[in-house]
């Protein structure tokens, strides 16, 4: 294969699709950003501008100074992080059981978990609210953590179970033959290989909790508000406050992406760690 031809293949099979896909994925984000720095007159102007003539960062200042946007961000973070950790812990145990043991009631249990997520949540709101109130956790982060966990556990159990079932069984068997017991084999052999999958599942749980609105508006008050509720407070009967809303969007997106930037390294590390031992 000639060098030129190889470059051409690379461009066609790699660069082009990458650029196209990323264009599609990122353009709306770019548009959110542009909107956040456009003055209103330009927003509804006769011509669409792709870079504002008079960019203004007032909205960002207003969000932090007048609106104390840090508080809902902290609340969201506490809720999402707690829900992620709790779900991951509980779901890993269950997924391990489902993938490594054959026991009575296994299939019905798995199907029950799946069905749990098929039912629309709007209909559960009133009783859930009453439950949270009786538990005495209404308007605390716990109410949200508990309700998110309930709806992320089933998915996470299934996801992790899928990953665990794809992992070659030989890894563990070797350790078990060597005289390790199951918990030891799990922690030493499975867990390191599972890290990428835990990261992926963790991101899934985190996002769910980060973006959820219906429960959040019911189970929080001024003190425990999360981002989706605060953002929606910016849309009144007199229209959308585009600048604040989009600026709020930008500052909720960026920290999460940065967090993932560090987490994604684990996506590769896990494999190498496991492969050495396997």
């Amino acid at each position: 294969m000639g060098k030129g031809k190889r470059l051409a293949t690379r461009a066609l099979s790699f660069c082009l699709p990458l650029v196209l896909l990323f264009g599609f994925l990122i353009f709306p984000f770019y548009w959110i950003f542009i909107t956040s720095i456009k003055p209103e007159s330009e927003l509804y102007g006769g011509t669409v501008t792709y870079w504002p003539k008079n960019p203004t960062f007032d909205a960002y200042r207003a969000l932090f100074v007048d609106y104390n946007f840090v508080k809902p961000m902290t609340n969201s973070f506490i809720v999402a992080a707690s829900a992620t950790l709790l779900t991951l812990f509980v779901a890993t145990l269950a997924a391990y059981a489902f993938s490594r043991f054959r026991f009575k009631g296994r299939r019905p249990l798995m199907i029950m978990f799946l069905t749990n997520n098929m039912f629309p949540t709007v209909l559960l709101l009133i009783p859930l609210y009453a439950i949270m109130r009786r538990l005495g956790i209404l308007y605390t982060p716990l109410a949200l953590i508990l309700s998110y966990t309930t709806f992320t556990i089933p998915f996470s159990v299934w996801l992790l179970n899928g990953y665990l079932s794809d992992l070659p069984m030989s890894l563990e068997e070797a350790a078990l033959v060597d005289g390790a017991n199951r918990p030891q084999a799990f922690v030493r052999i499975i867990l390191p290989v599972l890290v990428p999958c835990l990261v992926a599942t963790g991101v899934y749980i985190f996002m769910n909790a980060w973006n959820e609105y219906t429960f959040a508006v019911m189970f929080t008050n001024e003190k425990s508000r999360t981002i989706p509720v605060s953002l929606r407070n910016l849309i009144g009967q007199l229209g959308v406050q585009w600048d604040l809303l989009t600026a709020g969007g930008i500052i909720t997106i960026i920290p999460v992406c940065m967090m993932f930037f560090f987490a994604q390294k684990r996506l590769v590390e896990g494999l190498t760690a496991g492969a050495v031992k396997g």
Binding site: Y129, L142, V217, M218, K223, L238
Partner: protein, 425 residues
């Protein structure tokens, strides 16, 4: 074993979060009041804010009330998203789940639902013993009674908005149109104002900014009445004729093609950007209009045809049945209805005050939009408030009208659907 340690650390972190969370809760419990020992009487109030300025204003009013009420009442106001009307559902879910606030800002349309479930406190005895009772027009109390469907008052008036037509004087001049005095002249104006102003063969200014999305039933009602129809029966020939006029405006291209999904945002944006020459809304948007258009915006009441009707927007406050200190709660909603709260709120939002004392203040007498609002007030009314009204407004009206605009339904068929949706059968 590094992994194990990490895992343990994570669990520890989680436990920490939990402790923090439960710690917060304890603080909440401690601050609960006890009237016997002179602790303040706490009232929780829920409201939505149409802009951030309104929200800040509400917090100022609360602060002032807490400092000046002299009865040791402490109101805490919590903002909830308007969410296109989802506010009422949030409130309902909380109240049905045994929680919710003591008092809340309100829209009349939700009244039947809450009354049917015994969630609202009856206010008659409080209002009858209230020194400011006569500061509010008896008419308004009657509207409140009708909304509850009984002889009791469940809802405390706060402020109203009367819909009228905004127009661009400069465009009227260019097109040689004068302010319509009759409904026919209004329809004629829609036609004449639809123009291609830059000669590229495409229409760039539309006569009228039609609201086809949720909320559009309010301006639409004016068309039905102008033809002599009314809301007791949508299927009369006169009501259908009004609907036909509405459809024709779209069919003939006198309104933007986006009309079926245009909501508040779009009609206002189109008007401000000069895409439409007229649109219908209330005084709440006047501040923004003047900001953008300066002197080149004015208003007139929706003109009379065979009959005249315009929609009265409303905001009220209610006290919940579950509230433990209804006397204190009434002090608060009364403060909003006729006290300093009324003045402050109406000045900030431009809404029409319900207090006659406040209406008479010069700030309200000298505003041109307020004048048009007051001019339109005699023909202003509300939609029949039944337990079906909310669903009718949220889904039935917009979807039925969209089908009629698209030509899939005749005016008569659409009106029959609307009739069934509101009155059943």
């Amino acid at each position: 074993m590094k992994i194990v340690k990490k895992f343990l650390a994570l669990i520890l972190m989680f436990a920490l979060c939990m402790t923090i969370a439960s710690g917060c809760r304890k603080k909440d419990d401690e601050s609960s009041y006890d009237t016997a020992t002179g602790e303040p009487i706490e009232i929780t109030h829920w409201y939505w804010a149409d802009t951030q300025q309104y929200s800040a204003k509400m917090q100022d009013i609360v602060k002032e009330f807490n400092q000046t009420n002299g009865k040791n009442i402490k109101v805490t106001a919590e903002e909830y998203p308007w969410d296109g009307g989802g506010y009422s559902e949030t409130l309902f879910t909380a109240a049905m789940g045994g929680g919710g606030p003591d008092t809340a800002s309100w829209k009349l349309t939700s009244t039947p639902l809450f009354v049917a479930n015994n969630l609202l406190a009856v206010l008659d005895s409080y209002i009858n013993g209230w020194k400011d009772k006569d500061d509010i027009d008896e008419n308004l109390y009657q509207v409140m009674r009708d909304a509850g469907g009984s002889d009791n008052i469940y809802v405390m008036p706060w402020n109203t908005q009367v819909l009228y037509v905004y127009y661009r004087p400069s465009m009227f001049k260019d097109a040689g149109v004068s302010v319509p005095k009759t409904y026919q002249e209004f329809l004629e104006a829609c036609r004449k104002l639809t123009r291609d102003t830059n000669g590229d063969g495409k229409v760039d200014v539309y006569g009228f900014g039609m609201r086809g999305a949720k909320g559009g039933q309010e301006p639409w009602g004016s068309f039905i009445y102008a033809r002599g129809g009314d809301f007791s029966d949508f299927t009369t020939d006169k009501a259908v004729a009004g609907m036909q006029d509405f459809i024709n405006l779209f069919k003939n291209g006198y309104v933007p093609p986006t009309a079926p999904t245009d909501g508040f945002n779009e009609i206002i944006a189109n008007f401000k950007s000069g895409k439409t020459a007229m649109t219908i809304h209330h005084i709440g948007s006047s501040v923004g209009m003047v900001e953008t258009l300066g002197d080149d915006v004015d208003a007139f009441p929706f003109p009379s045809g065979e009959s005249q009707w315009t929609s009265m927007g409303d905001t009220e406050n209610v006290i919940f049945e579950a509230c433990d200190n209804k006397d204190a709660a009434f002090e608060w909603v009364a403060y909003l209805a006729t006290g300093k709260g009324q003045e402050e709120w109406c000045k900030a939002t431009g809404n029409v005050p319900v207090s006659k004392r406040v209406q008479a203040m010069p700030e309200f007498q000298n505003n041109k939009f307020m004048k048009v609002s007051i001019e339109g007030a005699p023909s202003a009314g509300i939609f029949p408030i039944l337990d079906t009204t909310t669903e009718w407004i949220n889904t039935i009206w917009p979807n039925t009208v969209a089908a009629a605009l698209a030509g899939q339904k005749t005016a008569a068929a659409a009106m029959q659907d609307l009739q069934r949706g509101l009155y059943g059968g």
